[in-house]
């Protein structure tokens, strides 16, 4: 890789890390577990490269490693997104009506 490319990559890395820090700093502690599950799914991004290496199949060795990597990262990806959503579905604001008259549909006994 030439130094130009390295510099460009460093720019991208730095700016992305900055965006990451700034948005994640604002995430309340309440949502830290879903956040971890979400970023866990995002870290499965190696999937795209695994797909290319598996698909091009230049050597059997690369193909075997690529296959395992696609399986592993898709487990990570699919499971990560499902579980994040499953958790977030549970986070509900107060739905009980504190004042009389306000209609509420809480069916929880």
């Amino acid at each position: 890789m030439s130094s130009d490319v390295i510099i460009t990559s460093l720019f991208i890395f730095m700016l992305a890390a900055f965006v990451g820090f700034e948005s994640i700093r604002r995430i309340p502690k309440l949502l830290h577990t879903p956040l971890m599950a979400l970023t866990n799914a995002l870290s499965a991004i190696a999937l795209v490269i695994s797909m290319v290496i598996l698909g091009q199949g230049h050597t059997t060795y690369a193909q075997v490693l690529g296959f395992i990597a696609v399986v592993a990262s898709s487990i990570n990806l699919v499971g990560g997104f499902i579980i994040t959503d499953r958790m977030l579905k549970m986070f509900k604001p107060r739905e009980r009506a504190p004042k009389p008259g306000a209609g509420s549909e809480d069916g929880v006994a």
Binding site: F13, L47, V48, G55, Y61, S74, K89, M90
Partner: protein, 467 residues
């Protein structure tokens, strides 16, 4: 524009999706939209990758098969794992991510090494070691959380020296490999040392430090993806890896701050295993115990009750019973809130997830900073399976291993009930001053059954009067 440009453009949109998904995670009301943005981003990235030049017909079949196998494992893993097992689930998932990143680094090295610059060789060496470290380290963490391995720190003499030697050997090999990329054995050896180091790194870490460790492994997984992006000149990998790394690092910092400890202390300190036992002053003092009825009576007539959940609640799976108790008390006109310490449980936000699962509205879940000033006006505090995070020794006892750790000031409340199995010391082996406080009453028993009894006391008596 050639085909690669279009693919890169699609990746740009995917990266935007990832950034938006983190932005929308900042509020419970928009968080699910964030998940959707991440999913769409990933979908675009995967579809675009299918157009990558050079993928053969068999290649497509193999990709499809591998994706199907991964989904067949990933879907049940996502749908079926109970919320109480979430820490180990997340750790396990990190392991898969680390494995994929490490293996792809190895494959890519052997395919492209003749085109690699010294920079590439160095980065890919580190990337492979990091990926493999995340793999075994996360498996160890998952094993400890699932209690297949002992949760207490496993220590042996010269441990830090051994770890340092393994790390030095790995770094030495990376440097060797930069100058001798034609040596076939070097990269597999780096991978092997990464695997070993992952195991060694996690063995001495105790269960109570798991929130920090999981967050750190999250950061490492992100960094290894970003490192892969540098070698492959893939901007998408760099962006996703940087976002992931930033998130893991921030969480790890928050966890460390909440324990008043440094990274190196968490990673190499083997907390509680050696020093804590000696420094804890053994003056036991006397404690008072209360029956369930007494506790229920007092809570019923209180105007405000704060419940402090800890890992014990998770172990006893008492979250649903706790919600029933909170509901019963609220029907009596009691103001019920939950005080959540940042490191309560085994991962960041652990208690919040469990209580959300039990349908506790999130307005009732308060951070340490939000609730600490209210304890002085609180009638009753119910401590459920929390220990070190409510130990007042952290505020004043300079000899205590947890001195300086921010705690929930429950000792300022009028009355404190502590639900506990027995008087044995907590995980870190530290005696808890709170238990000997004259305002504290111990309620002995399993968290789940004690809470259930409290609930039936509260509701039962109400019915008797009401009818």
């Amino acid at each position: 524009m050639d085909r690669m440009n279009w693919i890169e453009l699609a990746y740009l949109i995917a990266a935007l999706g990832f950034a938006l998904s983190l932005k929308w995670m900042s509020q419970a009301s928009t968080a699910r939209r964030g998940v959707l943005a991440g999913e769409i981003g990933f979908g675009i990235a995967i579809v675009a990758t299918l157009f990558w030049p050079g993928i053969t017909g068999t290649g497509y079949i193999l990709i499809a098969v591998a994706l199907l196998i991964g989904s067949a494992i990933g879907v049940p893993l996502g749908l079926l794992v109970p919320m109480t097992a979430m820490p180990q689930r997340i750790a396990l998932s990190h392991a898969f991510g680390g494995l994929a990143a490490g293996l792809i680094g190895i494959a890519h090295f052997f395919l492209e090494r003749e085109h690699f610059s010294k920079f590439d060789l160095g980065v890919i060496g580190i990337e492979i070691a990091l990926g493999m470290l995340v793999f075994t380290g996360s498996l160890m963490a998952a094993g400890k959380l699932q209690e297949w391995l002992p949760q207490r720190p496993i220590v042996y003499p010269l441990q830090n020296l051994v770890n340092a030697a393994v790390l030095a050997a790995a770094l030495g090999l990376v440097i060797f490999q930069v100058f001798n990329p034609d040596q076939d054995w070097a990269v597999p050896a780096i991978a092997a040392l990464g695997l070993v180091f992952g195991v060694f790194l996690i063995i001495p870490i105790g269960g109570a430090d798991m929130p920090t460790v999981i967050a750190l492994l999250n950061a490492y997984a992100g960094l290894s993806a970003a490192a892969l992006g540098f070698v492959l000149d893939s901007k998408l990998l760099i962006v996703a890896g940087a976002l992931d790394g930033a998130s893991g690092l921030i969480l790890a910092i928050i966890m460390c701050r909440a324990m008043n400890r440094s990274f190196s202390n968490v990673l190499f300190g083997a907390f509680g295993a050696t020093d804590a036992v000696g420094s804890g002053t053994q003056e036991q003092g006397t404690y008072r115990s209360a029956s369930v009825d007494e506790a229920a009576d007092l809570m019923k007539i209180a105007s405000s009750v704060v419940i402090v959940p800890g890992y014990g609640m998770a172990v006893a799976q008492a979250q649903h019973k706790v919600r029933e108790l909170a509901d019963a008390l609220e029907k009596e006109g009691v103001d019920v809130r939950f005080a959540i310490h940042p490191v309560a449980g085994r991962m960041p936000g652990h208690m919040n997830v469990l209580l959300a699962e039990a349908n506790v509205p999130y307005e009732q879940l308060l951070d340490m900073d939000e609730i600490n000033s209210d304890f002085a006006q609180t009638d009753v505090v119910l401590v459920l399976g929390a220990n070190d995070v409510v130990n007042p020794a952290a505020r004043h006892d300079k000899g205590s291993p947890i001195y300086g750790m921010p705690i929930l000031d429950v000792d300022k409340a009028q009355t404190i009930f502590v639900v506990k199995r027995s008087m044995r010391a907590g995980f870190a082996g530290i005696e808890n001053e709170l238990f000997f406080n004259e305002k504290t009453q111990m309620v002995f028993g399993d968290a789940k059954s004690v809470v259930a009894e409290l609930t039936s006391e509260v509701t039962g008596q109400r019915d008797a009067i009401g009818l």
